[in-house]
């Protein structure tokens, strides 16, 4: 075997290794969100049933479920499943300090968010619907007296809502925690 043939063989081998590695890492990256058994939704599922509000544990050295949590923020969540009907979320926001709602798909991506700047009468309120439910609701809207609901279309039937409240001081964390606990999530009857 000549030197060139040997070199050619070695180059081919390296190229095969690199090509396989590139394919494998791309496949892993694409598959992780689909097969991840422990994504945010799954971690939330351990903390509360769908359709009810449950507090998120406060970020701290001993709480290792949700990376990059801020100990200054109190948070709560409710999971939704729109197959039984739209979900209405009401969150009171009466405190000094920032508060917000974020709406996430089953895979965790955010499809909508609201802050306390959008509050009316001291609360933020929204109805999460599927595209099909929205069509039916719009068709039934009274033209002279349209619904005042803020309708948010979820790309997935399942998902979750997070409410966050900022505590201006450590001693005010309890008040922020009380505020997020008061978020109400209720499934509405499916539109006719």
């Amino acid at each position: 075997m000549s030197v060139t043939a040997r070199l050619g063989g070695a180059a081919l081998f390296v190229a095969a290794v690199a090509a396989t590695a590139a394919l494998v890492q791309f496949a892993v990256v694409l598959l992780v969100p689909v097969v991840a058994a422990h994504d945010a939704y799954a971690r939330l599922a351990e903390l509360g049933p769908p359709g009810t509000t449950a507090p998120l544990p406060r970020a701290g050295p001993d709480e290792r479920r949700f990376a990059w949590g801020d100990p200054a923020l109190a948070a709560s969540f409710c999971r939704f499943d729109l197959s039984a009907g739209p979900m209405r979320v009401k969150a009171p926001v009466g405190r000094a300090g920032f508060a917000s709602l974020s709406f996430h798909t089953r895979r965790g991506a955010i499809f909508y968010a609201l802050t306390d700047r959008a509050a009316t009468h001291g609360r933020i309120e929204a109805v999460i619907v599927t595209p099909a439910q929205l069509r039916v609701l719009v068709a039934h809207d009274d033209e002279d007296d349209p619904s005042q609901d803020l309708r948010v279309v979820s790309p997935t039937a399942q998902g979750f809502v997070i409410m966050r409240a900022f505590s201006e001081l450590s001693s005010l964390y309890g008040a922020a925690a009380d505020e997020v606990k008061a978020m109400a999530c209720a499934t509405e009857p499916p539109p006719p």
């Binding site: 063989g9 081998f13 095969a16 290794v17 690199a18 090509a19 396989t20 590695a21 590139a22 394919l23 494998v24 890492q25 496949a27 892993v28 990256v29 694409l30 992780v32 969100p33 991840a36 422990h38 994504d39 945010a40 971690r43 998120l56 970020a59 701290g60 050295p61 001993d62 290792r64 479920r65 949700f66 990376a67 990059w68 949590g69 801020d70 100990p71 200054a72 948070a75 300090g97 920032f98 917000s100 974020s102 996430h104 798909t105 895979r107 965790g108 991506a109 955010i110 499809f111 909508y112 968010a113 609201l114 802050t115 997070i162 966050r164 900022f166 505590s167 201006e168 001081l169 450590s170």
Partner: protein, 189 residues
């Protein structure tokens, strides 16, 4: 020939898995660098790239929406040197505009680090400020006067700056380098 092909396949597989692991620990795409800080503004959105999505699915992080705020993470100082627990850092003196901000210290995975003072971060609403409204946070393993953020007992750590309700959210790429806090290494043991 077959043996060689199988060997190439096996090495490629192992290499691919190893590379995925390290990429997902700190995904390099969709990230903007501003001074010492890195921000993945679109991390939580429906338009996030596959690498960022996979990293989120794996870490269990619940990201902030753009309308809620931005999270900036620093793993290096303003000169680009990795943060070192043997050193004293001064972080300040101002932040980009936001209704509130917090500056906290985490381990490499984003969790607060146990320390005797029970101090994991500072809020804009509680921090001691200088006469001109600026602030300095001292990051070190040894106690320091003023706003001291203890490093605790970890070898590697990161700093997280969160800007809540900030007008910058829509254009993370447009944050001026001069508007973010600097991380100056003052001295090292």
């Amino acid at each position: 020939m077959v043996v060689k092909a199988l060997a190439a396949g096996a090495i490629g597989l192992a290499l691919g898995v190893a590379v995925s692991g390290s990429i997902l620990a700190d995904p390099p795409f969709g990230v903007v660098t501003i001074g010492a800080w890195r921000v993945a503004a679109k991390a939580g959105s429906l338009e996030a790239d596959p690498y960022t999505r996979a990293a989120l699915a794996r870490s269990g992080e619940i990201p902030l929406a753009l309308g809620e705020g931005l999270k900036l993470v620093a793993r290096v100082d303003s000169a680009g040197r990795p943060l070192d627990r043997r050193c004293l850092y001064r972080v300040g003196t101002h932040t980009p505009a936001a209704r509130y901000w917090t500056l906290s210290l985490t381990d490499a995975d984003g969790y607060p680090v146990e320390n005797a003072a029970g101090r994991y971060g500072f809020r804009s609403s509680e921090i001691l400020r200088e006469g001109d409204g600026g602030f300095s946070v001292y990051v070190s393993a040894l106690a320091h006067s003023g706003n001291w953020l203890p490093v605790g007992h970890v070898q590697t750590f990161a700093l997280a700056l969160r800007l809540y309700d900030t007008p910058l959210a829509a254009s993370a790429g447009g944050i001026e380098k001069s508007s973010v806090p600097t991380i100056e290494r003052e001295s090292c043991a």
